[in-house]
């Protein structure tokens, strides 16, 4: 049936090996009968093997022949659908992103779980090992799915496994509530996806993507757009796009930290894969550009997510929650690139090149975000397992106690703030260039909207820097504010190795991003049927990134991150000599100047105080609530105690979700009046509904 393809044997072996590793890892949870610790170690090692194999398989495909799709049929489980895997450049790229973070997370995991909850029952450890392996396996295979059935099964497995991990950490009510919200939102999204897929499979009469693609070719414009928006909302729910993000800042921090790293770094990218697969592949018209409503929606949603994500992150004091809000921001940045690529694709002239540039920026940011967000979550996990405190107001002074963790967290902070010479800057630079090129092609309001989006991206970068000065400074610098922080010690070596792996990725992708373009060739060229990433971005060799914004491309902009890094290092060496001074003596130490009072940790700036000016500048968005209770002695001038409470509301929660909730409550109250409690009444309702439905259906068909 399927012609034998070169490389299919290796791929088959690789895929089998990945499945075997994750399967073995999942089975190793049975070892918890004897020792929970053994199950943890073996399960994570098996997952590590799976992740390394995933890296190998994806690199093999990415560096191989671009544009080809390798298909692997799976054994028949269902009589009505033949399951298969199809690996093309895009699949392999997302498998690569997944595996990169999975390597770090699995190295980090066992020591973290031991240190964080040393008295966990074996049953919980078994559940965590099982869920982690299922989670990783499903994420790997959802990208490689060759048909709708496999896709949806793996998608659901991913959701369920991550739910187990979210509620596994502690048995307090907050985690359970976070898990419930996550389940509701994720399944709402899945329902929409299911509708989109079923509408296609009904037309195609088969489940595999090739048949869906063929069926979609005959769709009329409005059906095509409706299906795209169904899928888009379904994917956006899972990706945490504003205003569908409310579950994300609750669920991600609740999971164990290495799982948070996987959820934020990788799981949020799977919907991006889905959007690209639907938008550019399955639902794309046979010829001509995509409907402009698609691109504009994605672009605007991305811009709003980016700005609101970082603004809410700024006001968070829970380290992991802050990072989760930054994921909302970064998904927004990725979507800006995706939306722009959708707008520019097949528009002719320089549009082809610019679409590749925009998609390259989006995909590179996907990889970069996986690296630095994974690193930051692992860093937060190290802090958490040593202090058992997530509120940064109770930390401080950790840089002296946990120097490796502090250094690696700072690296991640610089990267996520889009500062040179690290990787965050590279992908944002490419996004800026794509936006600028897009703006020069769209005259009129469209161009202005694109430039405005670029300005918002700049605002996002600046605010992210402010947020990470706060997060890093308050957590790691100054004096410890509580005894939890004071008695912290450095994290175990394996946790540092896990972080260092991702730190290395951040530096490598920042200093030599040209080499990563080789990995992006297959996904960009395969998806857009246009010149690949390296033809557009690294035309002048791998050390120079260059883009041309006009059709002729004569006045291209070139930057070299490698040169820049070399210059920075050389100048830092010179400055170091200058810094030593002519005396060359060791510095004296003295207490910090606090206007003559004895310095205590109360003098350190708190996160609330740090973010206050921005809270006031953006008060219209935050609607801050603030309450100060003063207890005074006999006169109002002598304060005995002062109590401050402040709160920020999430606008989408108050403006959308609370209203929906009120509407539902009102509706159910109305229905309750009609409910008589007699079974005949309900049967009458059901029959009536059925009758009306049949009537409507009959009228439409008739």
């Amino acid at each position: 049936m399927i012609p034998p393809q070169p490389g299919q044997q290796t791929l088959l072996a690789g895929v089998f090996l990945i499945a075997a590793c994750y399967g073995a890892g999942a089975l190793s949870s049975l070892l918890a009968r004897w020792s929970g610790r053994l199950a943890l170690t073996v399960g994570h090692l098996a997952a590590l093997a799976g992740a390394v194999t995933g890296l190998g398989v994806s690199l093999d495909v990415l560096l191989g022949d671009p544009g080809s799709t390798l298909t692997v049929p799976l054994p028949n489980f269902f009589p009505f659908a033949r399951l298969s895997l199809a690996v093309d450049g895009l699949s392999a790229y997302f498998l690569f992103v997944t595996s990169l973070v999975a390597v770090a997370a699995t190295i980090y995991g066992p020591a973290y779980l031991q240190a964080h909850s040393p008295h966990a029952r074996p049953a919980r450890q078994a559940a965590q090992v099982l869920a982690l392996n299922v989670f990783l396996g499903c994420m790997a295979f959802v990208c490689c799915a060759g048909d709708a059935m496999t896709f949806l099964l793996c998608w659901e497995g991913m959701t369920l496994a991550s739910y187990v991990l979210v509620v596994s950490d502690d048995r307090d009510g907050e985690n359970a509530r976070a898990g419930l919200l996550y389940m509701v939102m994720a399944h709402g999204g899945t329902a929409l996806l299911l509708v989109a897929f079923l509408a296609l499979t009904e037309r195609a009469g088969a489940f595999d993507f090739a048949a869906l693609r063929a069926a979609a070719a005959g769709l009329d414009g409005s059906t095509r757009t409706t299906l795209f928006f169904l899928a888009l909302v379904g994917f956006a729910t899972k990706a945490g796009v504003v205003p569908l993000h409310v579950w994300l800042p609750r669920a991600h921090p609740a999971a164990p930290s290495h799982v948070s790293a996987l959820m934020s770094g990788v799981m949020l990218k799977i919907p991006i894969y889905g959007m690209l697969r639907f938008g550019f592949d399955l639902l794309a018209p046979v010829a001509g550009p995509l409907p402009s409503s698609w691109g504009w929606t994605v672009l605007v949603a991305g811009t709003i997510s980016a700005v609101l994500g970082v603004l809410y992150a700024l006001q968070q004091h829970d380290l992991k929650r802050l990072l989760a809000f930054h994921s909302v921001e970064n998904i927004g940045i990725i979507l800006i690139g995706v939306g722009l690529a959708m707008l520019l694709w097949r528009t002719g002239g320089a549009g082809e090149m610019l679409a590749t540039l925009a998609l390259t920026a989006a995909l590179l940011h996907t990889l970069n975000h996986a690296a630095f967000k994974g690193l930051l979550f692992l860093g937060a996990g190290s802090v958490l397992c040593r202090t058992h405190v997530r509120n940064i107001e109770e930390l401080g002074g950790l840089a002296r106690r946990m120097p490796w963790t502090a250094g690696l967290f700072l690296l991640g902070a610089v990267a996520i703030s889009a500062l040179p010479p690290l990787n965050g800057f590279v992908s944002e630079w490419l996004t800026f260039q794509a936006l600028l090129g897009g703006a020069s092609r769209f005259h009129g309001p469209g161009g202005l909207a694109i430039v405005f989006s670029a300005a918002m991206l700049a605002l996002t970068g600046g605010l992210a820097a402010a947020c990470f000065v706060k997060a890093f400074g308050v957590t790691f610098l100054g004096r410890p504010r509580t005894s939890h922080a004071e008695h912290a010690t450095e994290a175990p070596a394996s946790m540092i190795v896990g972080m260092a792996w991702l730190g290395l990725a951040c530096v490598a992708l920042g200093v030599a991003p040209g080499y990563a373009m080789r990995l992006l060739d297959a996904p960009t060229a395969g998806l857009l049927h246009a010149p690949g990433a390296s033809a557009v971005v690294t035309a002048h060799g791998p050390l120079v990134l260059s883009v041309g914004l006009t059709a002729a491309g004569q006045s291209a902009t070139s930057i070299s991150m490698t040169m820049l890094a070399a210059l920075l290092v050389a100048l830092a060496a010179i400055a170091w000599i200058l810094r030593r001074g002519s005396r060359g003596t060791a510095p004296q130490t003295a207490p910090t100047w606090t206007c003559g009072m004895i310095p205590t940790s109360r003098f350190d700036y708190t996160a609330t105080a740090f973010a206050k000016p921005l809270r006031l500048v953006f008060a219209a968005l935050y609607r801050p609530r603030r309450e100060v209770i003063r207890e005074t002695a006999a006169t109002p001038y002598v304060l005995r105690r002062i109590r401050y409470t402040g709160e920020i509301v999430d606008l989408s929660e108050t403006q959308i979700y609370h209203r929906v909730e009120q509407g539902i409550s009102r509706l159910s109250r109305t229905i309750r009046v009609r409910s008589t409690g007699h079974i005949y009444g309900y049967i009458a309702f059901v029959l009536g509904t059925l009758f009306v439905a049949l009537l409507l259906f009959g009228v439409r068909r008739g």
Binding site: H443, A556, L564, S582, P587
Partner: protein, 322 residues
């Protein structure tokens, strides 16, 4: 790869910016003093201050981490690297590409990020206050600077500063559009904010009511403080050079358009340098005038002030695109 500016020239220009950075500060201080009917310190006072600081020994806060000592080094390196991206004596793309206008803004942001991190390290309220305020103003300034860059880059089709300067042409002010005038206005509004001057910040004091940048330097001492001050002098001249490359590439461009002029000999080099000095002087006079004629704004008035720049930049962009 072809380019009009050799790598040696780029390095030379960078060195010149570092060397003359303190002189610009000295000039502004002297001008301010004269405008306020004071005698003032000499033009060379910043050099004397630096020399003094580099001879001193260091006193460091006992709560500071190991990172604290590296901060001045990294800040200075990032700022000076930004200097390598500014065309000084001639326009055109560098033969060895390093970075563009976005990279320059990124490097300055990196220096600011590290300065703010260092300010929190000592664990005093002053450093935290300075860092908090600086990181409040910076995200509001950066998008507007970016928009000004975009408003010129949209026409030139590049964000490389040398190429932007070359594109603007020799007859600079006669070829200006309305968008350019608005862009310059936005830039002039932002300039005091980006160089840390009245009405946004006050470089002469680190009292808690005014301090932004100076508050962050409070715990640095000796050569470390010297590095930080040298970095802020360099940052100032880099920002001024950035503005002049975007809008007034006069003489630079004469040299760039006709490669032989500068490529050949010292004449063009001196001409370019003199033109650059004049441009920087004009901007320095502007800064001194603004500083002498306005009062420091309340911190929460600053966003409104910056909004003027934002509106100008947005209008400039709208004029370019619509």
């Amino acid at each position: 790869m072809s380019g009009e500016r050799s790598f040696a020239l780029v390095l030379l220009e960078m060195t010149l910016l570092v060397l003359f950075g303190p002189l610009v500060t000295g000039t502004i201080q002297k001008l301010k003093a004269r405008l306020q009917s004071r005698q003032g310190a000499g033009f060379l006072q910043p050099y004397r201050d630096l020399a003094k600081l580099f001879r001193k020994s260091t006193v460091q806060a006992d709560t500071a981490s190991g990172l604290f000592r590296a901060i001045p080094v990294l800040v200075l390196a990032a700022t000076v690297t930004a200097g390598a991206l500014v065309p000084v004596v001639r326009a055109g793309t560098p033969s060895v590409p390093i970075g563009d206008a976005l990279m320059l803004l990124g490097l300055l942001a990196l220096a600011r990020f590290l300065t703010a991190v260092g300010a929190l390290d000592a664990g005093g309220a002053f450093g935290g206050m300075g860092a908090s305020r600086e990181m409040t103003i910076a995200p509001l300034v950066e998008p507007v600077l970016m928009m000004v860059v975009f408003s010129t880059a949209l026409v030139a089709g590049t964000t490389e500063l040398g190429a932007l300067a070359a594109h603007r042409g020799t007859s600079w002010i006669f070829a200006w559009h309305a968008a350019d005038f608005l862009g310059v206005t936005a830039m002039l509004v932002l300039l005091p904010a980006e160089t840390g001057r009245i009405p946004v910040d006050n470089p002469d004091t680190h009292l808690e009511l005014t301090m932004l940048h100076e508050g962050m330097l409070l715990e640095h001492s000796g050569p470390g403080l010297g590095c930080m001050l040298l970095a802020s002098h360099t940052r100032q001249i880099v920002t001024l050079g950035f503005v002049s490359a975007l809008f007034f590439p006069i003489a630079v461009n004469d040299a760039g358009a006709d490669g032989s002029l500068v490529g050949a000999g010292a004449g063009g080099f001196v001409l370019g340098l003199a033109a650059f000095a004049v441009k920087i002087l004009v901007l320095a006079i502007y800064l001194a005038l603004v500083e002498s004629s306005y009062a420091k704004l309340r911190l929460f008035r600053v966003p409104q002030y910056l909004a003027i720049g934002f509106v100008c930049a947005l209008t400039a962009l709208a004029l370019r695109i619509l």
